[in-house]
Symmetry: C2
Subunit: 94 residues, 2 copies
Amino acid sequence: MMCLVIYDITDDKRRNKLAAMLKVFGLARIQYSAFRGELNSNDRMVLAKKASQFVEDEKDSIFIIPLCDRCLGTATVLSKGGACLVKESKVQIV
Amino acid sequence: MMCLVIYDITDDKRRNKLAAMLKVFGLARIQYSAFRGELNSNDRMVLAKKASQFVEDEKDSIFIIPLCDRCLGTATVLSKGGACLVKESKVQIV
């Protein structure tokens, strides 16, 4: 299932390590603090366990959000640079 | 339907104006560049139209992502500060 990971990590080093880890999981960066990619439920659990080490500050948070085909299909992306969630999402060149 | 809005807006003034507009739409901030709240499909369309004015740079992008109950219910939130997507998401105090 497609999965979106968004995060606020106050510490630069921890934030960069999290981003590197998300790439190892095969996720692609879609925004500065947002990645997406295919993850099954087991992968999501393993990712959540590993990612929790980067949450130290009260202001840190990580959201791991599965996106079903319906949610993906009704998503809207506003971009001039070709950003996309997945092919199915409606991309409006603004 | 619950809706997630995440954005990368390079210009500070435009980014702040977008955040202010999202609050007017009744969305709540959950991360630095992420808001969520209830929006019906018409609201989403109006929001997309209005938000597009803030996308000027090639690196700017806004994702407006509806989240069905199933996606919400299987989302995981890692936080020490009580961040939450909605009550149903599994919040792991790490």
